[in-house]
C-alpha cells in the first residue's frame, strides 16, 4: 500500500511539474556561489576565515531547513488531497490502515527530501576540499539530515491527527452540512511553528558566530551540556565542539545520538497518530504503544545522559520531570489504569540503570533511589488520572494545569525573580507554593532529586522561602496524594478505563 501511494503521488507530481522540485535550482545556486567565491578570491584576494566558517554554518542551516521543514510541509500538502471528503470516503472503504496510509503519504516527500540533501553534496565537497569543515563534521551532519528527512515527512503526514474513520466522518460531516471541508482539516499544526522557532534560534547562533560575536554563556559547563542535549537534533549547534557529546560522562559520537533520537522522534510521531486512529487494528495498536514507550524512554534517557555533566541532581530532576510528564499524558492505546501505569514505569528503567552505573558508588545508589522514587511517582500519577480517551483533550489540559500550577509557577517565579528579590517580602506566599508543590508530581521529582543528589538552585531558593515545603517534602506528599487516588480508582474497578474504540467501524 505504501508503494501504491508512492506511485500515485509520483504520477501526480510528475503531471504537476517535476517530481523533484528545487533540486535543479539548488544545484545552479551552488554553482553560482562557487563561481562568485572563486572570482572574488582570484581578483580581490583571500576571503577572511570568518566568511568561510559562516559559509559552513550557512550550508548546515540550509540542510537543516531542507531536512526538517520541507518534507513535513510537502507531506502535509500531499496529505491534504486525501483530506477531500469524497476522496477520504473512498479510501475509508478500503482495507487501509493508518500505518500504511501515513508511511505511504510520507514516501514521496522522503524521496524529495533525500534528493535535496544529495543536491547539497557538491557544496559540502567544496567546503571540505578547501579545509573549511572537517569531513567528519560533514558526515555527522549529512547522516543526521538523512535520518531527519523521513522523521519530518512522517510528522507532516501525521499532522492530520491520525487517519481514522472518525476524522473522515468529521470531514464528511463538515462537507455535508456546510458544503465545504473545514479549513482546519488541512491547516498546519503548532508543530510547524515549533520547528520555525527552533530554526530561528539556530539561525541566531549562526549570525552571531558569523559576525564574530561571542554567544553568551557558551563556555560554561551548563551551556555545553545544553548544547549536547540539542546537538543530536540540531547538528549545526556547537559545531566547533567536535563530533562527540558527553553522555553520562562518557564521550559518545553525536551521529549515533542523532540517529537514535531522530528515529525515535519519527517513530513516536507515527505511533501517536496510529494509536489515536479508530481504524487501527489491534496489532497496530499494540505496536504503536510499544513504539511510544520505546521512543519516550529514549528521550528520557537522553535528557538524563546529556545533563549528567551539569550534576546528577539536574540530570535526574529534568529527566524525571519528563518521565512524569509522559506518565501523566498517558497512552491512549492502553485500556486500564494499571496497564497505563505499568507502561509509565518503563521510561524510568534505562535512566535508573545508566545513572546507577555512571554514579559509581554512593552517588549511584542515590541516583537509583531517586529513580525508584520517580518511578513510584510515575505509577501513581498514571494510575490516578482517568485513562486518556481517543479524541479527548480534557485530560491533557488537566495534566498541564497540574504541572504548571505545581512546579512551573513557584519554581520559575522564584528563579526568575531571585536576582531582584521582589518576592522577598512575600513570605506569606510560602504556604500557597507549598500546597501547589504538594499536589504536583514534577515538584515531587525535583524535591526528591534535590534531597538525594544535591541542591538545585531554584528549588533550594523555594525551600528557603517556603519552610512548609521543607517540613513535608513534595516527594512524599505528591506521590502519596496521587497514590491514594490511584488506589481508590483501581479499587473501584477503574470506571473510566473502558477502551474508547467505537462499537462499529
Amino acid at each position: 500500500m505504501i508503494r501504491a501511494f508512492f506511485v500515485k503521488d509520483l504520477r501526480l507530481v510528475s503531471k504537476g511539474g517535476t517530481p523533484l522540485p528545487g533540486v535543479a535550482s539548488l544545484l545552479m545556486l551552488q554553482a553560482a556561489v562557487c563561481i562568485v567565491l572563486a572570482t572574488v578570491s582570484i581578483f580581490v584576494g583571500p576571503l577572511p576565515s570568518e566568511v568561510w566558517r559562516a559559509a559552513a554554518s550557512l550550508v548546515a542551516t540550509v540542510a537543516f531547513v531542507l531536512a526538517f521543514i520541507m518534507p513535513a510541509t510537502q507531506a502535509a500538502f500531499a496529505t491534504a488531497s486525501e483530506g477531500n471528503p469524497e476522496v477520504a470516503e473512498s479510501l475509508a472503504t478500503s482495507p487501509l490502515g493508518p500505518t500504511s496510509f501515513l508511511l505511504g503519504k510520507a514516501a514521496m516527500p522522503v524521496v524529495q527530501g533525500i534528493a535535496m540533501q544529495a543536491a547539497l553534496l557538491p557544496m559540502w565537497a567544496f567546503l571540505t576540499a578547501n579545509g573549511m569543515i572537517a569531513a567528519a563534521d560533514v558526515f555527522r551532519i549529512v547522516v543526521a539530515m538523512l535520518v531527519a528527512v523521513p522523521m519530518s515527512a512522517v510528522s507532516g503526514a501525521a499532522r492530520f491527527g491520525g487517519f481514522g474513520s472518525s476524522r473522515i466522518a468529521l470531514m464528511v460531516k463538515a462537507a455535508t452540512r456546510r458544503g465545504a471541508v473545514s479549513p482546519n482539516a488541512v491547516s498546519p499544526a503548532p508543530a510547524q511553528q515549533t520547528w520555525v522557532a527552533l530554526l530561528g534560534m539556530a539561525w541566531m547562533v549562526q549570525v552571531m558566530r558569523g559576525a564574530g560575536l561571542a554567544v553568551p554563556g557558551l563556555s560554561t559547563p551548563e551551556m555545553a551540556a545544553l548544547q549536547d542535549l540539542v546537538r543530536p537534533l540540531i547538528p549545526l549547534v556547537g559545531m566547533e565542539r567536535g563530533n562527540f557529546s558527553s553522555w553520562f560522562g562518557m564521550p559518545v559520537p553525536v551521529v549515533l545520538l542523532s540517529v537514535l533520537l531522530l528515529s525515535a522522534l519519527g517513530v513516536t510521531r507515527l505511533a501517536a497518530s496510529v494509536a489515536t486512529s479508530t481504524r487501527a487494528t489491534e496489532l497496530e495498536r499494540r505496536s504503536a504503544w510499544r513504539a511510544l514507550v520505546a521512543g519516550r524512554s529514549v528521550f528520557v534517557l537522553h535528557l538524563a545522559g546529556a545533563l549528567w555533566a551539569i550534576s546528577p541532581a539536574v540530570s535526574a530532576s529534568a529527566a524525571g520531570c519528563a518521565a512524569v510528564w509522559y506518565a501523566l499524558v498517558g497512552y491512549p492505546v492502553l485500556g486500564s489504569r494499571v496497564r497505563i501505569a505499568a507502561a509509565a514505569l518503563v521510561p524510568c528503567v534505562l535512566p535508573a540503570v545508566c545513572t546507577t552505573a555512571a554514579g559509581a558508588g554512593a552517588a549511584g545508589l542515590g541516583a537509583l533511589a531517586c529513580w525508584i522514587g520517580i518511578a513510584a511517582a510515575c505509577f501513581a500519577g498514571a494510575a490516578a488520572l482517568p485513562p486518556p480517551r481517543i479524541g479527548s483533550d480534557r485530560r491533557a489540559l488537566a495534566v498541564a494545569a497540574v504541572g504548571l500550577a505545581g512546579i512551573a509557577g513557584p519554581v520559575l517565579t522564584f528563579a526568575v525573580t531571585a536576582p531582584a528579590s521582589p518576592l522577598e517580602g512575600f513570605a506569606a506566599l510560602g504556604p500557597l507554593f507549598a500546597v501547589l508543590s504538594w499536589v504536583s508530581l514534577p515538584a515531587a521529582v525535583v524535591s526528591l532529586a534535590s534531597d538525594l543528589l544535591g541542591p538545585l538552585y531554584p528549588w533550594a531558593f523555594l525551600v528557603r522561602h517556603a519552610p512548609t515545603v521543607a517540613a513535608v517534602p513534595p516527594w512524599l506528599a505528591a506521590p502519596a496524594c496521587f497514590g491514594l487516588i490511584a488506589l481508590i480508582a483501581i479499587a473501584r474497578n477503574s470506571l473510566n478505563a473502558r477502551p474508547a474504540a467505537p462499537p462499529v467501524g
Binding site: M1, R3, A4, V7, K8, R11, L12, K15, G16, S81, N84, P85, E86, V87, E89, S90, L91, A92, T93, S94, P95, L96, G97, S165, S166, I168, A169, V172, K173, A175, T176, R177, T278, R279, T281, A501, P502, P503, V504, G505
Partner: protein, 330 residues
C-alpha cells in the same frame, strides 16, 4: 437465487443507531441481505439511507449496533470486511490529474496490498475487465477530471467491483443519469446479480428498483418500516391500490373529474396536469363501475381511462405521505 444455508449473510446489520447532535439519524436499524440478492433501500430524504450505507462501508461509525459483512465483523475485522464489499458513494471526487486507468490501478493496489496481481500485467488486466464491465474501456486513458457525471458514475462502479467483492453498496447510483445510462446501469446490476453478488441499492428512482430488486427495505425516520420481497411488501402494504390515469376532453372537464374523484372514499394522490388526472384508489377493479357511474353523473367528458396495478412508486408515496421530506444531515 437461493443462498447457501451454511454461508454467512452478505450483510447482517443489527440495532444500528446513529445520532448527530440532537438528530437521531438511525434508531435501531436491522438489515439482512443474502448472497446473490438485489435489495432496494427506500425512504424519504433524511430517512437514514445514506447514513446506513456509510456505516456499512466503514466511512462512518455507528453509535451502537453490530455489522457483519460476509461474516466479518466491522468492529473487530474491518479490513477483512473491506475486501468483501465495494462501495459506490453518491458524491464523487477523485484525483483529477490521474487517468481512469491510473485511478483504478491505485485503488486495486490498495485492495490487493502485497498480494498477487497488485501491479503489472495482472493488475492492468483486472482494471481492463472492470472498465469493460461498465463499458468504459474507451475512456481508460482520459483524465478523471475530464469525465462527465455519467462516466464518473461508471468509473465509481468499476472501482467498486475492482477487487471482486461479494457485496456491493450503491448509494443513489442512478441519480443524474440520462435514461439510456439508467437502462445500461440496470443491465450492469443484473449482470452483477448473475455473478452472484449481493447488491444493496439506495435510490429515489423507484421504477429502476422495481425492475431490479428481489427485496426492498423501507426506512422512515431512522427505522425500518417494512422489509421483504418486493411483491410481498407490495401485497402486504398496498394490496388493493390501483393507479388510475384519466384523460378528460379538456382542462375544464379535468377539473370536474378532480371534484368527482376527490369526493370518492379511498382515493388519494389526486393530481391534475392539463386534461390528465392521476390518482390512486383502494378496492381494485371492483371500484371501476362506481367510478364510471359517478363520472357520468358528474358530466365529465372522458376520452380515456387506464388503470394499473400498484407499483413501488404508489407504495412509497403511501408510506411516506406523512413525512415532511426534510433533508437530514446524512
Amino acid at each position: 437465487m437461493s443462498a447457501n444455508v451454511n454461508a454467512p449473510a452478505a450483510i447482517d446489520a443489527r440495532g444500528l443507531q446513529k445520532r448527530y447532535g440532537t438528530f437521531q439519524a438511525l434508531a435501531g436499524v436491522n438489515l439482512h441481505v443474502e448472497a446473490g440478492e438485489v435489495c432496494g433501500f427506500l425512504g424519504p430524504n433524511g430517512a437514514g439511507k445514506s447514513t446506513t450505507l456509510r456505516i456499512l462501508a466503514r466511512v462512518e461509525t455507528a453509535d451502537a449496533g453490530t455489522v457483519r459483512i460476509a461474516g466479518h465483523d466491522l468492529a473487530t475485522d474491518g479490513n477483512a470486511a473491506s475486501l468483501c464489499f465495494g462501495y459506490m458513494p453518491e458524491r464523487f471526487a477523485a484525483y483529477d490529474a490521474l487517468s481512469v486507468e491510473e485511478y483504478l490501478e491505485f485503488f486495486l493496489a490498495l485492495y490487493r496490498g502485497g498480494g498477487p496481481g497488485r501491479s503489472g500485467a495482472a493488475a492492468r488486466q483486472v482494471v481492463a475487465d472492470s472498465l469493460d464491465l461498465v463499458s468504459m474501456t474507451f475512456k481508460a486513458k482520459d483524465l478523471m477530471g475530464a469525465l462527465s457525471k455519467g462516466q464518473r458514475q461508471r468509473v465509481l462502479l468499476a472501482r467498486a467491483v475492482l477487487h471482486d467483492p461479494a457485496v456491493l453498496l450503491l448509494d443513489e447510483p442512478t441519480s443524474g443519469l440520462d435514461p439510456r445510462a439508467r437502462v445500461e446501469f440496470k443491465a450492469i446490476v443484473r449482470e452483477l446479480k448473475r455473478m452472484g453478488k449481493a447488491v444493496l441499492i439506495s435510490s429515489h428512482v423507484l421504477p429502476d428498483l422495481q425492475d431490479l430488486c428481489d427485496r426492498v427495505v423501507i426506512l422512515i425516520g431512522g427505522k425500518v418500516h417494512a422489509a421483504g420481497r418486493t411483491d410481498e411488501i407490495r401485497q402486504r402494504l398496498a394490496p388493493d391500490i390501483t393507479g388510475i390515469t384519466l384523460e378528460a376532453l379538456d382542462a375544464a372537464a379535468a377539473q370536474r373529474a378532480v371534484a368527482v374523484v376527490g369526493a370518492l372514499a379511498g382515493v388519494s394522490e389526486v393530481r391534475a396536469e392539463g386534461a390528465v388526472v392521476t390518482f390512486q384508489i383502494t378496492g381494485g377493479r371492483e371500484r371501476m363501475p362506481e367510478l364510471h357511474r359517478l363520472l357520468v353523473q358528474g358530466n365529465v367528458d372522458v376520452v380515456g381511462l387506464e388503470y394499473r396495478k400498484s407499483t413501488l412508486d404508489d407504495l412509497y408515496l403511501q408510506l411516506t405521505a406523512g413525512s415532511n421530506g426534510e433533508e437530514g444531515p446524512a
